[in-house]
């Protein structure tokens, strides 16, 4: 069935609908990854967004049981050049179309996604709607312009209640702002005893769980829309080692007195080079963010920039000068994308270990 994609700047694309038939409004963003659509569509950070994939063939290897990054996708829609009608891969269980029907997500195919990407690149991220052909274009545009997109995405996607994912190793409290399963998987792989808590858990509640470290997850939207998390992070600083990813990184920066800003069209893809300022080496990283820490706002804080994006120089990693805490804007858990930065989880665990040593030493000296 033919459908239209209408953008707030007045551009109209006509394509073939797939997945759910229901209309959708959201922020239109693009991702340049050539693989990993299943991880992308299930990444909670895309909550409220309609994602266009620049790679033209989507759905080739189908949808499988394993590669989801959340149980329920939070994405508002998918825009593709072609949605494969015949997926082929040994793990494939269903097609993109069937899966979207089940999950009630609308998709539109047959779009000149390169043209759309170029519009986003020039205009910046913009609002758009996937709707039926009967809809009047002008009124949709008017409606789009008048719409204020929801800003409580974190609340929508975060877990409502804490739950454990037990292990025998270090206890890590993982604050879920819209956590990708990949983060939990990486911690579990390292035998961490993980407790996942909602985004609005207080510092005190977290500390009561006696964590060896706290992990701040990724998540959707503007970090300034989750002030309660900023307070929570401030309450944890110095008391327990912290590691933050993506939204967790931005919240950490805000908690330390820096500022964040909205980017024109963000970084979304699997090929983003990030330079480690300590080693001088570059890692290819998976990224998905529309906000970034403002470089000038670092001045006067206790923060030190550890990583930058090679191409636009934006801040990709921070550490606290005094207390054990570091964060990155990109996704060391990959899924999808390169696993070059996977060692950061080791670094987090090393930080936990050295904090423990330090603690043990302090305890000993107290006893003496």
């Amino acid at each position: 069935m033919k459908k239209q994609l209408i953008l707030e700047d007045g551009t109209v694309f006509v394509g073939e609908g797939f997945g759910s038939n229901s209309p959708s409004i959201g922020e239109v963003v693009f991702n340049t990854g050539m693989t990993g659509y299943q991880e992308i569509l299930s990444d909670p950070s895309y909550c409220g967004q309609i994602v266009t994939l620049t790679y033209p063939l989507i759905g080739n290897y189908g949808i499988n049981r394993d590669d989801f990054e959340s149980i329920t996708p939070a994405i508002s829609g998918f825009i593709v050049k072609e949605a494969a009608d015949f997926p082929s891969n040994w793990r494939s269980e269903t097609s993109l179309d069937e899966y979207f029907k089940i999950k009630n997500i609308p998709g539109i195919a047959g779009i000149d996604t390169r043209k759309l990407t170029r519009i986003i690149r020039q205009y910046g991220t913009l609002k758009g709607a996937i709707c039926n052909m009967e809809e009047n274009v002008d009124s949709v545009i008017e409606k789009l312009r008048a719409t204020h997109l929801r800003n409580d995405q974190v609340k929508q996607v975060s877990t409502k209640t804490p739950y454990p994912s037990p292990g025998r190793g270090n206890r890590v409290v993982l604050v879920d702002f819209g956590m990708k399963h990949g983060i939990l998987r990486e911690l579990n792989k390292r035998d961490c005893d993980v407790i996942v808590v909602p985004y609005n858990t207080t510092a005190e509640e977290i500390l009561n769980l006696s964590p060896d470290g706290v992990m701040l997850s990724n998540g959707p939207g503007d970090p300034k829309d989750v002030p309660e998390a900023i307070t929570m992070i401030q309450g944890l600083l110095g008391k327990v080692p912290l590691f933050g990813i993506c939204l967790g990184h931005q919240l950490f920066a805000l908690a330390c007195g820096a500022n964040t800003e909205k980017m024109k069209f963000g970084h979304r893809g699997s090929n983003h080079p990030v330079k480690d300022l300590t080693t001088g080496k570059v890692a290819l990283t998976s990224q998905n963010h529309g906000y970034a820490v403002e470089p000038d706002s670092i001045v006067g804080t206790k923060l030190e920039v550890t990583h930058i994006a090679l191409n636009d120089g934006t801040i990709e990693g921070l550490k606290h000068k005094d207390v054990p805490a570091f964060t990155v804007q990109y996704h060391p858990e990959a899924s999808p994308g390169p696993e070059d930065a996977n060692h950061l989880f080791e670094r987090f665990l090393q930080m936990i270990e050295s904090k423990k040593q330090e603690g043990a030493y302090t305890c000993q000296s107290v006893q003496i």
Binding site: F13, F30, T32, G33, M34, T35, G36, Q38, E39, T54, Y55, P56, L57, N60, Y61, N64, D66, D67, K81, E82, A84, D85, F86, P87, S88, N89, W90, R91, D112, T113, R114, K115, T117, R118, R121, G269, S270, N271, H272, P273, K275, G280, K281, V282, L284, L310, N311, A334, S335, P336, G337, P338, E339
Partner: protein, 1070 residues
């Protein structure tokens, strides 16, 4: 890390002649690298034996040596030039092997030459099967069960353990020469024996076959700071079992999930880090279609055919950056040349689909074994870009110029189901089209998958094409379906056939319906960043990104895939034409589809359209760009063939007009023109029936040259000596009828002369005359050409100049022309005139310093030769002697007869240059790969007609100390003349025979002249093939043998005993 300042001069080793497995991609890589190193301020010294390349132009490096790529000659250059460093990884396997040899010989150490980039130890670790397997075991990376073997017994032992099928991979060879898959003992003996012979270290890897796995390649780069990236990954549509150079390849991979993609990416990066690669590297992997299990197939620690493809597929210039990495720069400090704004340390994101299809030489070699395995057979390839897989595939098919325009083959409907299944089960060059036919017959994709192991994803896409084709046929000129067809990549010619219309009707209808393509940019970043790279492909979508400028523009048509008869020489001329157009102030636009070449490097032209060279694809670009005109004379026959259709559509051809092109190519018009100019040509007539043919031949006298009039490039051309041979030819080789006449010409036994010239209508500049070593009858591309001519009189020379000037002006040539003459009994005859750039243009341009393609382009654009400072006549001859020696790839093509004749068979060429003919020939022959030992044995089996002449040669061989062996007939003849010769038994006789002599390496040269009958069963054929299989030079022309003799004679001091003067002494005494 900043670039090295402790080195000043760098030696770059090229890859030598074009052979199967090592082609134009190394001209592209080498040229890029040399320019990159010069850009960084180094003095670049280049050595390469191939004159047909851009790389060996004197502007590309500071010092260019066109010398044999052997230890002897390159050592000499090193001692003379004393470079500080050497880059070994840009000249393919040849360059790499030579670098290893140089290092081992000690010359690098002696002269203090450092190897840059990837270290030799790493190269050996990647190339030596044993070291590589050990490394993989250390890294815990899986390799298929395998065993290094040095003889047949070891091969048996391995097979006893793992069973058949096994793959044989000879060590250190190009394109898998001598390798293959063995399913039984017979194949094992054959392939292992040939593999061991082909390996310079007599070593083969026997490997458990993992045929059927997905074959995936990663093109990776790493710098000295350990930054490592993947430039591109590619998936072979043909699963493991077919050499990647012979596989249809798509980029990026299409059936891999992100987990599989990252799994193989991690492995690839882990391997290049462990090897310590500094530069580009290719990693080939096999992935189980039903699990995460994978194997490493091989690693090429250098730029390669795949890296050229990856560069063109992504826009990311691998060779250029690899060269810069070699001098110490790191990826994070270099800009991505495509965007100019972002850094080179990133991984390109594609927003299109790339398909590569190999171009095989089986149209030339009909008797060749067409099945595909681990030994590469393709001479070239095409690439196409589309926004859907279907579009990309169909565009690639029609780029092939193999008379296919769709997923369909002429006459495929005539083959029965059984044969169809067989041809899909066993990979061959036409499998893709047989799959199309099977789908048309309703065979399911599951069945085809079972036959071919090709992934269902690709088969489903092909099935969609066939399904759509059927629906399309029922709705002629339906706009919606028509648009959809174009989106799927259907050619106008296919629509025309389905709709019972003409191609031009479909084209015009589409324009009315506004169904026209847009052009999108290849920008490495999927439009994330703004780029200004002028690299475009066409597709049927909304937004066009190719902005037409106000500047006047000229379109140059490239020459498409490299094939026998149309090689890299035409890309050379194309590039020069583009440069000249830019120099003249026009915007130069190039259209081409060959990913291996310099012309498709986006930095060469103002605009590059990577598109098929068919009339519709070219016209779309012309419609958009509205150029001043189109230049067709540099793109070989590909471009010339489009001329008439372009003119029909109102496009202006710049240079020689269509009418004049036609006059040179149409036999009757040409004959008429020659009569008017009073220039003789060999007598000839057109026969419409067998009877008429006999009549004509009798009239003009045998021997005659026969060929069908409807094919070009010497195909099916033969020299026949008597009536029964003519009858055989007429019955077997051609189908003669009034629509398909056969041309019969008097065959003149004489010296063949080749002349290239430039004409502007008034002035005719002749840069040089070349004389062929082999007499007329051997295709000019397969002859050794000598500049300047060594054996023609001044009178003849003047006559040649006179004829050339008359022809150039008389035929209305504006630009280049190439003429082939034959000189018989001091009379000059014209064999043919090619009103275009020729194979010898780069060779002559380099020798004479007359940049022919450039001058011709300026002539075409309206600047007269006089204005350019050239006068009519022959350019004064240069001192020294220059020879062009053809290079063949027979070792890669089983069952192909190597006899030289009117059909061209060589794939490349080398140049030998020195002060005398003998020295130049020596260099040329050595550069072409021939070993010239100064003593040994010649095995002679010559046809009766040649015996008299062979006698002289035999005598000369004997007098320099060579021994002779011959089969009974030839031996008898020699013995009768008093020449000592050892008789060898014929094939099939009891006990050791001729074949054993060859196999045991008892002869250093084989002289075999052709006797009639083309059936491979003939003994002559077996002798020739055995010599190829065993790497012994086999001379099929007495002239080539004579040339070698001259070289040998000049190398050898004479070995004559003192005259005894017995009689005289007696006389004195008495």
């Amino acid at each position: 890390m900043p670039k090295r300042t402790d080195i000043n001069s760098i030696l770059v080793i090229g890859s030598g002649p074009i052979v199967i497995g090592q082609a134009a991609e190394f001209d592209y890589a080498g040229t890029q690298a040399c320019i990159a190193l010069k850009e960084e301020g180094y003095r670049v010294i280049l050595v390469n034996s191939n004159p047909a390349t851009i790389m060996t132009d004197t502007e590309i490096a500071d010092a260019v040596y066109i010398e044999p790529l052997t230890l002897e000659f390159v050592s000499r250059i090193i001692r003379k030039e004393r470079p500080d460093a050497l880059v070994p990884t840009l000249g393919g396997q040849t360059g790499l092997n030579l670098a290893v040899e140089l290092a081992k010989s000690g010359v690098l150490e002696e002269c203090g030459v450092e190897i840059l980039g990837t270290k030799l130890s790493a190269i050996e670790q990647a190339e030596d099967r044993d070291l590589f397997r050990t490394l993989m075991n250390d890294l815990n990376e899986p390799v298929p069960e395998s065993e290094i073997i040095h003889n047949l017994e070891e091969a048996y032992k391995f097979v006893e353990v793992v069973g058949y099928p096994v793959i044989v991979r000879p060590a250190f060879t190009l394109g898998g020469t001598g390798g293959g898959i063995c399913h039984d003992e017979e194949e094992l003996i054959e392939i292992v024996t040939s593999g061991l012979k082909n390996s310079p270290v007599t070593q083969c890897l026997l490997e458990k076959s993992i045929a059927g796995f997905k074959e995936i390649e990663y093109e990776v780069m790493r710098d000295s700071n350990d930054n490592a990236i993947v430039v591109c990954n590619m998936e072979n549509i043909d699963p493991v079992g077919v050499h990647t150079g012979d596989s249809i390849v798509v980029a990026p991979s299409m059936t891999l999930s992100d987990r599989e993609y990252q799994l193989l990416r991690n492995t690839s990066l882990k391997i290049i880090r462990a090897l310590g690669i500094e530069g580009g590297c290719n990693v080939q992997l096999a992935l189980d279609p039903y699990s995460f299990n994978y194997y490493i197939i091989e690693v090429n620690p250098r730029v390669s055919r795949s890296s050229a493809l990856a560069s063109k597929a992504t826009g990311y210039p691998i060779a250029k950056l690899a060269a810069k990495i070699a001098v110490g720069l790191t990826l994070d400090e270099m800009m991505n040349p495509v965007t100019g704004k972002t850094y080179a340390c990133f991984e390109p994101a594609l927003d299109y689909i790339v398909t590569k299809i190999p171009r095989w030489p089986f149209d030339k070699f009909e008797s060749a074994n067409r099945s595909l395995g681990t030994q590469m057979k393709a001479t070239g390839e095409v690439m196409a870009i589309g926004r859907t897989f279907e579009e990309s595939l169909l565009k690639a098919i029609r780029s092939l110029e193999a008379n296919v325009f769709h997923l369909a083959l002429n006459d495929a409907d005539e083959i029965d189901n059984e044969l169809l299944e067989k041809r899909i089960r066993k990979a061959g060059d036409e499998r893709l089209f047989y799959i199309g036919e099977a789908l048309r017959r309703g065979v399911t994709i599951e069945t085809i998958h079972e036959w071919s192991q090709i992934d269902l994803f690709f088969l489903n896409k092909m099935a969609r094409i066939i399904t759509f084709e059927k629906a399309l046929a029922t709705v002629p000129f339906d706009a919606e379906m028509g648009r959809k067809a174009k989106e799927m990549g259907f050619a106008d010619s296919v629509l025309a056939e389905l709709w019972n219309a003409t191609e031009i009707e479909v084209y015009n209808w589409r324009k009315e319906q506004n169904i026209i393509p847009v052009y999108k940019m290849v920008d490495t970043c999927a439009a994330e960043f703004e780029s200004e790279t002028p690299y475009f492909y066409g597709t049927y979508e909304d937004e066009n990104e190719s902005i037409v400028t106000d500047r006047k523009s000229v379109v140059v048509l490239g020459s498409g895939p490299i094939r026998i008869g149309q090689g890299i020489e035409f890309d050379y001329s194309t590039v020069h034409a583009v440069w000249a157009i830019r120099e003249a102030g026009y915007e130069a636009i190039i259209i081409n589809n060959n990913p291996e070449t310099v012309s498709t490097d986006f930095s060469i032209s103002d605009k590059l359209y990577f598109e098929p060279l068919t009339i519709e694809d070219v016209m779309h670009i012309i419609d958009l760009e509205k150029p001043e005109g189109v230049v067709v004379q540099f793109g070989g026959q590909t471009a010339i063939n489009l001329a008439s259709k372009l003119v029909e559509r109102g496009v202006k051809i710049l240079g020689t007009s269509l009418e004049d092109l036609d006059r040179a190519e149409n036999r009757d018009k040409f004959e008429h023109a020659l009569t008017n100019l009073n220039i003789p040509q060999p007598k000839g007539k057109t026969a419409l029936s067998v009877e008429e043919a006999i009549e004509i031949a009798t009239e003009i006298g045998y021997p005659v040259l026969v060929r069908p009039s409807y094919v070009l490039g010497g195909r099916a051309m033969e020299i026949v000596y008597k009536e029964e041979e003519l009858l055989h030819y007429m019955k077997n080789a051609v189908k003669v009828n009034p629509e398909h006449p056969v041309l019969i010409d008097r065959y003149l036994t004489g010296k063949e002369i080749e002349v290239d010239a430039i004409c502007d209508g008034e002035t005719v500049v002749i840069p040089g005359i070349m004389e062929h070593i082999e007499r007329a009858g051997v295709h000019s591309g397969d002859s050794i050409a000598v500049y300047p001519p060594q054996s023609i009189s001044n009178v003849l020379r003047e006559k040649l100049v006179d004829y050339t000037m008359k022809l150039a002006k008389g035929l209305g040539i504006v630009g280049l022309l190439n003429i082939q003459y034959v000189v018989a009994k001091e009379e000059v005859y014209v064999l043919e005139v090619n009103p275009r750039s020729s194979r010898t243009v780069p060779f002559l341009s380099k020798i004479t310093n007359v940049p022919m393609a450039k001058i011709a382009t300026k002539v075409i654009l309206g600047q007269s030769l006089k204005q350019q400072g050239y006068e009519s006549g022959l350019v004064p001859e240069k001192s020294g002697v220059y020879v062009k020696v053809p290079v063949f790839s027979f070792a890669k093509l089983r069952r192909v007869d190597i006899t030289l004749g009117p059909e061209m068979k060589s794939t490349g060429e080398v140049m030998g240059k020195d002060s005398t003919l003998e020295k130049a020939l020596y260099k040329g022959l050595v550069a072409s790969g021939m070993k010239i030992p100064n003593f040994g044995t010649v095995l002679m089996t010559v046809a009766d007609k040649d015996k008299e002449e062979a006698l002289q040669l035999a005598q000369r061989f004997v007098s320099i100390g060579y021994r002779l062996m011959a089969t009974s007939g030839t031996a008898q003849f020699l013995q009768d003349a008093g020449i000592p010769v050892k008789v060898v038994d014929k094939i099939g006789s009891e006990g050791p025979n001729l074949i054993d002599v060859i196999r045991n390496g008892e002869a250093q040269f084989i002289l075999n002249t052709f006797s009639k009958g083309k059936q491979p069963a003939r003994d002559g054929f077996r002798i020739r093939r055995e010599s190829v299989e065993n790497g012994i030079p086999c001379l099929t022309s007495l002239d080539t043998a004579e040339a070698i003799l001259r070289v040998l004679e000049s190398m050898n001091f004479s070995a004559e005993a003192m005259d005894k003067q017995v009689e005289k002494r007696e006389a004195v005494l008495s």
